[in-house]
Subunit: 204 residues, 2 copies
């Protein structure tokens, strides 16, 4: 998130910024609404004007963070490359972005662990489902990946990325995890087979 | 779980059996301790003698269910087959077992969704972590699968199986999901390369 000078930001932005600082340093559970309001130089009343409770502001922050990570990951898509290469590039960027957000990594991970926050993290990961499903369906038509049930494949892949993100947030080293994900993705390359058999499978 | 005649079972077993029936038909959240005690022909006092609360008896049931599924999956391991084939067989058996437990499928899925139950499901899935990690390390040494960081690989694979189990419990059709998992696992087959390069990579 871009940081602006306090005086130029409105109360809602100051509350968001203070909450992110507090969640990242003290942790979500240990931060009170009073902590956030005080750090933002405002009141509990102002907090409740903008947010219904602590989970509400945390979900907004998580959504902003995941959205900016997703935008970076989507920005590396290159239409001149094949689908699997693009998925690998996007996912490696995603994990690397997650890892670079050192100061908010624990807070991001809390989005996986705290049941009241988990849903918002999942919502942001949904961008992956639609994007990947669309790319996968195209890639099957082009013969770049083998025929599989597209919804099952998209569901498993987004789940796999979620698991990998969780592991990277916990372990803090995205390289080994990216290598494992890339190897698994290579399994989607169609095995060589006679063209007419491939045709039959597609029709079935 | 094997059903015995009520008269030959002790109170704890009757409570477990009644709880499983109630959780499977009414759902975990809608079942009270009184419901369980009444159906077992006993009292709240007896319930609290054996279990600390509703989550406690549910965790015991989840553990029993996951353990019996895991035992069936492990039983199909065949030492004469390669590691990837064994993992595929075990996982296909696992998903098929999960799916066959029609009456308790919703309760099993609640083990993923309810935060107080989730941990016990995770514990049972841990059998997968140790088993798979050991098999994967062996398989890397034998050259059956490519070199990857074993802990990262085992972590991602157990997470992948957890995701696939969750999707199968939700969707109720394990076949497409098994096909997707098998395709991804095929990505672990080492790519063909000169023997001395493979050797170098192993040493590095």
């Amino acid at each position: 998130m871009a940081r602006r000078e306090p005086k130029t930001r409105n109360t809602r932005e100051r509350l968001l910024s203070s909450a992110l600082d507090a969640f990242s340093t003290k942790g979500y559970a240990s931060t009170s609404i009073d902590d956030i309001a005080k750090a933002a130089g405002t009141t509990r009343g102002a907090f409740y004007y903008y947010f219904s409770d602590k989970a509400d502001i945390a979900r907004d922050l998580q959504q902003d963070l995941w959205r900016s990570i997703a935008e970076r990951a989507q920005s590396v898509f290159d239409p001149s490359l094949d689908t699997l290469s693009n998925i690998k590039r996007a996912f490696a960027t995603h994990l690397s972005e997650v890892n670079q957000l050192e100061s908010v990594r624990l807070f991001l991970r809390e989005g996986f662990l705290d049941p009241t926050l988990e849903a918002s993290g999942r919502v942001e990961l949904e961008w992956g489902f639609d994007l990947i499903r669309e790319y996968l369906a195209d890639a099957m038509d082009k013969g770049e990946i083998g025929r599989l049930e597209p919804t099952a494949l998209a569901g498993i892949l987004t789940g796999l990325f979620e698991v990998a993100t969780d592991r990277a947030l916990a372990a803090g080293d995205p390289v080994s995890i990216t290598e494992v994900v890339n190897a698994l993705l290579d399994g989607l390359v169609p095995s060589e087979q006679p063209a007419n058999l491939a045709q039959l499978r597609r029709i079935r």
